[in-house]
Symmetry: C2
Subunit: 346 residues, 2 copies
């Protein structure tokens, strides 16, 4: 990148709103410095270029990491199974010196109301101490424990009034954005409600107003069904944005992911593991992302009947171009019922 | 991709709406078959892997292309300078057999109102007959002529009532989504108004209702200014989604790109060329996209005071991950005033 990026490095993160497109952007110069296992984002997937000895997420290298928030080590013989730590190159700051309310930058820049200080939490969940183990290699209970670690962290974060929404996500593979290959996911707690979340609430409200029902409780999987468990259904959505995209939807109505109990977490863990293995087998271990789409931390009584969380898995097979950036519409070469058939086969 | 994609190949394209996220997706199995100059989307940029002799867009290979719509050949000694042709692997079909209105698929699938037949136009603009010439190598007048080719094609398309919005865009480089390296851009004419466009109109209306002014006429570039010409201003937007993103905004109020006259087209051509050269020099010939953000073909009298077209240029430097897919928020490591400074320097 260009030479004069150094002056930016001391600036605090900031959220700015594009009033034309009604979109928030996080400005975070610190992010530019984070290390990468992959020589170049555009070079071919090279999952092991950072060996276990230099990987900060490996067992024994804990001192190379930003501070730990908590660890999961149920077995006294095992040091830890899961660690939740601070992100060393956070997009948002835990504290930016008294500026947490009524930041003056908006006025200073002549753009009142368009700037929010970049305060929030940005954590990493290390899913296993072992470098070569992937999430889908863990057993259903262990995947469930990772999900319970998300839940526990969200419950801590929700005590802070400043935080409006918590996004849990995972990047696997360089083309899915991952900079480190050791199996991990991230938790980003935001001081604003992101546009996709408020947009989703609006659409769900519209459906509810018309039908009296929750749009996700009403999903009829039919030929879009991949599998189901006691509490969850996995489908290819009818209007899947990406080829072989999967949604895992709770069959019970629930606004918040973090209301998941242990039994449901293990049930979901098994289904998530299965979906990741199916993608890996049918699409040759593709890069992928998953995202937990939950509700804003504060949900009003009138919103709860139509807010329903779900987990979205997206294998990264196609990439996007100017059409998608311009329109927000996507071109998907694979019809959902065909994708569901392929995923049911294994 | 998985084996059983063959049954999908005979299906007509279809637009489906995701009612949860209020987003349209184009299903287009034909797209999966298009050729690529780049061995793999994730391999390093290899701009010349398809040589001039096998490139369908090169002079002399016109017979390898889908039908021509028109050509620009002002000089009788030159066969052509610019060609506008049909896309051989169109995302939307010019005609899908009488199904152009009231498609029954919605009801058939139990999803009434969520399916629109995939009718529209998908064209390619070949910007030069010469394989190794890039858009920024052309002179201001020649770039202006490319812009006038877009205008001419949009004016043809707008005669069709079915078309609601026309997206013009360019992909340069594999990481920006390009599958062919010969300099070209695309025109996609849609039977729906895409979400970013209706969202933008909403935000602009809100600003207009509050201030009585058009949000883009009112942009105060200050330290975000890169350059200006007689009719246009180029800036890094205050809430730039991507590092080194550039907007070129007409200084005169205008809803539609296609109202551009020849004088303004040449003026814009010069500024566009300059911006592409600046990006190339400061960021080492990065992959990039540009998109023309115009208004729906039909704009009401009440909408015109606040609808204002602009051109967005996005160098692809960072890639995205699960956070961006999940929230629609972006993380930008470079503050806009720093980016503008870097781009003013050359
Ligand atoms: N020693 C250490 N201790 C603690 N944390 C450490 C660390 N060393 C590195 N980290 C952090 O570990 C994280 C690893 O995350 P990922 O590999 O999922 O992708 P990353 O966040 O880099 O970017 C991807 O995801 C984001 C969000 O979706 C996109 O903005 C981006 O374009 C995409 O590449 C990084 O966020 C990094 O800051
Ligand atoms: N002989 C021929 N005659 C006529 N046309 C021919 C042809 N041979 C190929 N084509 C067409 O030429 C176009 C070249 O376009 P680009 O290189 O800009 O990217 P493409 O559209 O493939 O995909 C990128 O852009 C789209 C839209 O943004 C994204 O969906 C996608 O992920 C990204 O890779 C293709 O659309 C192809 O169908």
């Amino acid at each position: 990148m260009a030479s004069s990026s150094s002056p930016t490095e001391t600036r605090s993160p900031e959220l700015r709103k594009d009033p034309i497109n009604n979109r928030w952007v996080i400005f975070s110069p610190a992010r530019a410095k984070r290390p990468s296992d992959f020589k170049s984002k555009s070079s071919s997937e090279n999952q092991n270029s950072n060996s276990s000895s230099s990987c900060p997420f490996c067992f024994g290298n804990e001192h190379h990491c930003a501070p730990e928030i908590f660890r999961d080590s149920p077995d006294p013989n095992v040091d830890w199974k899961i660690r939740v730590i601070q992100n060393l190159y956070p997009a948002l700051s835990r504290d930016i010196g008294g500026e947490t309310e009524g930041h003056p930058d908006g006025e200073k820049s002549g753009f009142p109301g368009r700037v929010v200080p970049g305060v929030g939490f940005h954590d990493v969940v290390i899913e296993t101490p072992v470098h070569s183990v992937h999430l889908s290699d863990l057993g259903p209970t262990q995947v469930g424990e990772v999900l319970l670690a998300y839940k526990k962290r969200i419950e801590q974060i929700k005590e802070r009034d400043l935080i409006k929404y918590v996004q849990v996500f995972k990047n696997h593979g360089a083309s899915a954005g991952a900079s480190l290959s050791h199996s991990h996911s991230q938790i980003l707690a935001l001081p604003v409600i992101p546009p996709t979340v408020s947009g989703r609430l609006c659409s769900m409200k519209e459906y509810f107003d018309q039908t009296g029902k929750c749009g996700l409780c009403e999903v009829q999987p039919k030929d879009l069904l991949i599998d189901e468990t006691t509490y969850f259904t996995s489908i290819v959505p009818f209007a899947a944005t990406f080829p072989f995209e999967i949604w895992i939807i709770p069959q019970y109505h629930s606004s918040h992911f973090h209301d998941l109990d242990s039994e449901k977490a293990i049930d979901l863990g098994g289904l998530l593991k299965l979906m990741l293995r199916k993608l890996s087998m049918q699409l040759n271990n593709p890069p992928f992302n998953f995202m937990i789409h939950t509700s804003p931390l504060q949900v009003t009584d009138s919103q709860s009947p139509y807010s329903h969380w779900y987990l979205q898995i997206v294998p990264q097979l196609t990439g996007v171009g100017g059409f998608e950036i311009g329109t927000g519409c996507y071109i998907n070469p694979v019809f959902p019922d065909d994708a569901a058939k392929v995923l049911r086969e294994v």
